[in-house]
Every structure is written in structure tokens, then in C-alpha cells.
């Protein structure tokens, strides 16, 4: 919003060397988180057993736990976290709004309502269909909220409130659909709480490529998003095609948030929190924020899933609920700042 405010930030924070170090450290942290994700749970599984389960599978109970549960959850957690972290960063960069988050702006709710339609009205069950519906729903909601935000005069708070209102309407429609169809009620209830448990790695066959394309798009746009931070006119003057950038960003957010929602159910506020943490570490360059936010998102989801596994063992708390506890306080913190909207 205010270019002058950006120059007062410490410029060394986004120097390429520093960014590289931070990203490497974040990847190491993700590695550690993954090891925790594979070993910690209702039953502790030693790292050697994990390795054996992968390399020398003998069908023992512990190895089965690793192969059937721990590995899929950890891998899907990483994928979902990468997607939501990057989606949040792109959304905040595009809207120049510190409050932007795919969950809060109704993108996940759009995916949810489309999945509810697929389940309740069409009786679909298999993942590829549900994912296709989730993507269409996410796309429509993303476009809708961008248009609504623009209709409100482009004010940052307007965008958020439009999104919250949109999410409320879509949530109401989802509830109505589900209440009218008891089978859908049961299926949607577990899906809606945002869970990694019981998901098969085979979903990656469809979700993996979609998220990979989304991540590639997001990373490709970081330079333009940085220029956009100087203001629309300046960016246009410097050769950024605003229309194309907006289209690309909507496509990236749709692919990332829509697919993540299809895999794990609606997870809100992670897309809000991860970019803020990244910004605190590497400063304000999107080039650094997008990849770092993605990795941070992955770390948080994997660890959040572990917390959900152990906190009330032998029962589980779905990762979506854990994420709300971890990430929603960020919104409160942002709301308490001197200027909540500024990035």
C-alpha cells in the first residue's frame, strides 16, 4: 500500500544469501518434522523400523502402521501444507492485504459446497470426481471474492468482510444440502473437520500434479508480485501485465487451495499465518516469502497432525481443528496491531 514504509525495512533481510540459508534451514526443519511425523503417534515407532518398513517390508504390525498410516499422513500433510502456505502468500501478495487467507476469504468454503453438491445431489464418492468439484468450487469462489472486493472499492477490510460473508453463505448452503441428505451428512462431517487420517496416498496421483502446477505458477509470479507492491501504475509502467498476473494468481490459488481442500477438508488460517511467519524471517520480498511460506506451511501441518494424534490419544483431533487453534490466534494478533491491514 505505502511504498515508503517498505524502504524503512532492513534491506539485508532479503539478500539472496540470507534467503538461501533460511530456505535450507526451513527444509532441514521440514525433514525433522517429517521424522517426528513418521515416528510419533499413539505408538512410538523407531526410525530404524520406519526405514525397514520402507526398504525391508516384512508385514509386522508396526511396519504396517508406518506404511498404511504414518507415511501417507506425513506425505499428504507436506503436500497440503506446501499448497496452503503458498496460496496464502500469493493471495496476500496479490491483494496487498495482510488479512488475506484462502480459508477466510471463502475459497475453501467454495470447494466444500461443490463437494457437498457432488456427494449429496450426485452421489459421487471417488476422489477424482470430488477433487474436480472442489477445484471448480474454489475457482468460482476465488473469482467471486475478487470481484466482490473490487465492487467494494478495493478496500482491504472490504475484501476480508466480503470473503467472510461469502464463506458464511456457502457454509449455509453446505449445511442445508447435508441436512437434507443423511448419508452425505456422515461423509461430509469427517471430511469437513479437515483430516489427514484415512486418506490414501493414491489421491496424490491427481492432487500431486495439480499442486505442483500451482506451486510452479506461484513461484513464477513472485517477481511480478514484488513489482506490484510498488503500486498498480508503477507496476504497469515497469511492464507487469496486471490482468495476466491476476489471472495467474487466481489460477494458482484455485489449484493450491482447491486441491488442498479436496485432500484434507477445509483448513483455515494456515494460509494467513505461514506468510506472516515467513515475512517476519525474510522481510517483504515475495520471492523469498512464497517458497518459505510453503515450507513453513508444510512443517506446521505435519507437526499439527502429530499433535492431533497424541493430544487425546487414543482418539484423534483432526488436523483442521488443530490448525484453527494454532493459526487463528494469528488473526487476533494481526487485529491488535497498530495497522492491521498493512503487510
Amino acid at each position: 500500500m505505502i511504498p515508503a514504509a517498505r524502504t524503512t525495512r532492513d534491506p539485508h533481510r532479503s539478500s539472496p544469501g540470507r534467503v538461501a540459508i533460511v530456505v535450507v534451514l526451513a527444509l532441514v526443519a521440514l525433514g525433522v518434522a517429517s521424522v517426528i511425523g513418521l515416528t510419533v503417534g499413539t505408538k512410538f515407532v523407531g526410525p530404524s523400523t520406519v526405514l525397514d518398513a520402507i526398504l525391508r517390508f516384512d508385514g509386522s504390525d508396526l511396519q504396517l502402521v508406518v506404511r498404511e498410516s504414518r507415511i501417507p499422513r506425513t506425505v499428504l500433510g507436506i503436500v497440503v501444507g506446501l499448497a496452503l502456505g503458498a496460496a496464502g502468500a500469493v493471495m496476500q501478495g496479490l491483494t496487498r492485504n495482510a488479512l488475506a487467507d484462502p480459508g477466510m476469504l471463502g475459497v475453501n468454503a467454495g470447494a466444500s459446497v461443490a463437494v457437498a453438491i457432488a456427494v449429496a445431489a450426485l452421489g459421487l464418492r471417488d476422489f477424482p470426481h470430488l477433487m474436480a468439484f472442489a477445484l471448480v468450487g474454489a475457482l468460482i469462489a476465488t473469482i467471486g471474492v475478487v470481484l466482490l472486493g473490487a465492487a467494494g472499492g478495493g478496500s482491504p477490510v472490504t475484501l476480508v468482510l466480503s470473503g467472510v460473508a461469502l464463506a458464511a453463505v456457502l457454509g449455509g448452503v453446505t449445511t442445508a444440502l447435508v441436512l437434507l441428505n443423511p448419508t452425505a451428512f456422515l461423509q461430509m462431517r469427517s471430511w469437513e473437520s479437515g483430516a489427514l487420517a484415512g486418506r490414501d496416498l493414491s489421491v496424490l496421483g491427481f492432487a500431486g500434479p495439480a499442486i505442483a502446477v500451482g506451486l510452479a505458477l506461484a513461484l513464477l509470479m513472485t517477481r511480478s508480485l514484488d513489482v506490484l507492491a510498488l503500486g498498480h501504475d508503477t507496476a504497469a509502467g515497469l511492464g507487469v501485465k496486471i490482468g495476466a498476473l491476476r489471472t495467474g494468481a487466481v489460477a494458482a490459488v484455485t489449484l493450491l487451495a482447491g486441491t488442498a481442500t479436496a485432500v484434507a477438508g477445509p483448513i483455515a488460517f494456515l494460509g494467513l499465518a505461514a506468510p506472516h511467519i515467513a515475512r517476519g524471517v525474510v522481510g517483504s520480498s515475495q520471492k523469498a516469502i512464497v517458497p518459505l511460506a510453503a515450507v513453513i506451511g508444510a512443517i506446521v501441518v505435519v507437526l499439527g497432525d502429530v499433535v492431533g494424534r497424541v493430544i487425546i490419544a487414543p482418539q484423534e483431533v483432526p488436523v483442521g481443528i488443530v490448525m484453527a487453534f494454532v493459526a487463528a490466534p494469528f488473526l487476533i494478533w494481526i487485529g491488535r496491531r497498530k495497522n492491521p491491514v498493512q503487510m
Binding site: V157, S162, A165, I321
Partner: protein
Amino acid sequence: MSDTNRTESLRAARSRIRRARRPLDRRSRWAMGALGAVLVASFLASLSIGDTVISPVRVIEALFETQGGIHMVVVDWRLPRALAAVFFGAALALSGTVFQTITRNPLGSPDVIGLTTGAYTGALIVMTTAGGSGMSVAIGAVLGGFGTAALVALLVAGRGALGYRIVIVGIGVSAVLAALNAWMLLRARREVAVSAAIWEAGSLNGVGWEQALLPIGVVSVLMIALWFARRGLWLVELGDDIGVSLGGRMGLTKAGLVALAVGLIGVVTAVIGPIAFVALSAPHLARLIVKNGPAHLFATAMTGAALLSLADIIGQNAVPKHALPVGVVTLVLGGVYLIFLVARTARRRF
């Protein structure tokens, strides 16, 4: 504020209060009359429409009968529900107008800033730990609402007057509480979870005389109390500075008003579950009819009553053979309204 400015704004405030006390102009009188007609029509409609449709004339006759099948349908089954819709709608709307005035924000309604979610949290805690029902759940809901109001107030206290700060913080608090609620539901026994999930949708289903009488009495008392506290509400509306100059003790006034408003929404939430957006939209719609003053409180209450009543009729009859909870109807309709409101007020408000 310089002295001349202060006298100036004091004078303005006094004249505003005088204006507010003047009898309504022609247009407002007509509008109030129309609103009253809508309210009566929706009340009669909720008595006559259902599995069997009974003509309004027959409904009115049945109200004065003492026995018979029609009498049973109208008076024993439909009347408590219709009355509850009217009184609870009015209670939600008045709670909304108090909160919007105190937060000085058109969006600062109790459901947006998380009070209904908090009331649900309170009720769930009672349901899952004590396994209680009825009165204890209601008390839990009211306490949950108070706790959430206190928490949000604490979190925005001393952070400078930004109209939307309370909305942002409220959404955050609401999200944490919603997660807590979902977690409690997951851990709850099956029967508790099912009944809580139905209640969460916000429904007037199963509201008979037994469930309706006491809460209607309580919200009536609270509404009357709010009527006597209306002067405080104007003082708050005029701003702390002027309020103090006019002899108001603003801290105490606000605390008292919040207590009444939380009481209103807490009781309603306890009985029929969280109802979205009536508290938000009724004061706005009422402002189209009467701008401010005592008549605005009446208009707000009547609008809320008509809204909840109409939403319940829609929920009962929109989908053949299925009854949608009234909360779902207000969620969808109110959300659409909020979108328009945000798009319209954005330019001048934020």
C-alpha cells in the same frame, strides 16, 4: 477539543436528542404501519401454513376456541413456535443494535464478533461435562456469551479506535471457539453429539409451550429493561466525550447495556441455537424506516421479529417434505445481505 468546539457539538447533540424525541414524521409513520402489517401477516402465516394449511380466518377462530383438532394444531403446536420466532427475533435484533452502537461499527453484531459461537461453547461444556439439559445448558450458553464478550473486549482494549479492529479480532476469537466446539463434539458421546449438531444449525423445531414460555418471559423482561436504559444507548451513540458532558457515566452505562444485550442473545442461543445475521441486519433494515430515537428501537425489534418469523416459514416450506432449520435460512439470506452491505458501505466506512 477546544471549548467552542465542545459547546458546538454539545448543542448539536442536544438538538439531536430533541429531534429524536419528536413524534414521527408522516413517512416514518406509514413505514412503521407497513412493518407492523408485515409482522402480523408473517405471524398469521406461521400459524396457518404447515403440513395442513389452515385459512387465516379459521386460525383466528381457533385461537378463541377451547378444544378441537384445529385448536390443537394452532394453539398447542404452532402458536408457541410462532411466538418464539417473534420474541426471539426481536431479542436478537435489539442485541444487535446495542452491540453496533457500542462498537460504533455497523458490522459489530454479536454473531460476527463471536458471541453466538461462545454461547454454543458454554452450552457444549455443560452438555458434555455435566450432561445437563434445559436450564443448566441455558445458563452455560449465557455464561459462554458473557465470557466471549469479555475476552473480545479485553483483546481490543487500549488498542486505539479502529472501527474494524473489533470485527477482525472477533472473527479470530470466533474461529478458535468454533474449533473448540468441533473438538468437543468429536469427543462427545454419540447422543450428545447428534443433539448438539442439530442445535448448532439453529432450529425452532420442537419448540412447544414448555420450551418457549420461560425464555419468552426472560427476554421480555430484558427488552423492557433495555427500554428503560434507552437514554444510555443514545449517550453511547453520541460518543464518550459528549456522553460524559451530558452527565452519563459511560463505563457503567456500556457495561450495563452489554449485559442486557448478551443476556438477550444468550437466552435465544440457549433455546434455539445460534441464529446468524438477524442481529446484524435488523438494525440496518430498521434504519431505512426510522433513523434513531425510541421509535428506532421499536422498528428494530419489529424487523427482527418479522425476519425470524419469515425465515422460519421459508425453512419449513422451501423444500417439500423436509424442514430446514431456521438458522440455515438466516445464514444464507443474511450472508447475501452482508455481502451487499459490505460492498455498499465500504467506500465511506473503512
